[in-house]
């Protein structure tokens, strides 16, 4: 079974803090993704990565950065957290050339006060 884990289920941070969200997958997947999910807006792609040290902007990259130093780990960084980044953050991974099925982690609910 594919397992995608995220470092925290719930996180509360203050405005202006630097925030790190970690994601680890154990199935040797090439592709990893970070989404945020907000009511009425669905899942929106923030960043994704096809390989180690590679990253691509998704639909809403502003205010975020990512790091992929190892194949199994993909980190999302909020350089200076703001209240409008309060959201559910979901990490996913997939194997290339398989039709696109992604496996999701349990999510991190981030609250910025």
């Amino acid at each position: 079974d594919v397992k995608v884990t995220q470092s925290s289920r719930y996180l509360v941070k203050r405005t202006g803090e630097k925030v790190f969200l970690e994601c680890v997958q154990d199935m040797d997947h090439e592709n990893m993704f970070w989404y945020r999910q907000d009511p009425g807006l669905g899942l929106r792609l923030i960043y994704f990565s096809y390989d180690v040290k590679m990253k691509e902007k998704g639909d809403i990259p502003e205010g975020y950065s990512v790091s992929r130093e190892k194949k199994e780990r993909f980190s999302l960084i909020l350089e200076s957290a703001s209240t409008n980044q309060t959201s559910m953050y979901l990490c996913a991974s997939s194997l290339s050339m398989t039709g696109g099925e992604q496996y999701f982690g349990p999510g991190t609910r981030l609250t910025v006060t």
Binding site: G42, L43, G99, G100, F104
Partner: protein, 111 residues
């Protein structure tokens, strides 16, 4: 830009009813359409559809794709309270591995 529209946005039915959820899409170079179920946490995979007219079935759930009319439906028969969830539809474009999601349909089953 790829686009996915799901309808209805929400649906409340009684246990035992049959429901049909809709997903229409616009995609530059269609590769596949996926359905996910999301309860309280991570979305879980239901179906992947790549060919028109071929029904995918898993227990009381089934789905079919129409690539000419650019839509898919997800059917759930004899609904149970455990079917209460958000159902997400997403499409994949050839040339990348990204999923473009719809906003989801929130299904509530009343006992």
């Amino acid at each position: 830009e790829d686009k996915v529209v799901q309808s209805p946005l929400s649906l409340v039915v009684h246990e035992g009813d049959t429901v049909t959820l809709n997903c229409s899409y616009e995609v530059t170079n269609f590769r596949s359409l996926l359905w996910y179920k999301q309860e309280k946490k991570a979305p879980t995979f239901l179906f992947m559809l790549t060919s028109s007219g071929i029904e995918k079935k898993s227990g009381r759930l089934s789905s079919i794709l129409d690539k000419k009319e650019l839509f898919s439906i997800l059917n759930i028969t004899a609904t149970q309270t455990g079917d209460s969830a958000i159902y997400l539809c997403a499409v994949v474009d050839f040339g990348n591995e990204k999923l473009t999601f719809g906003t989801g349909t929130r299904l509530t089953i009343i006992p």
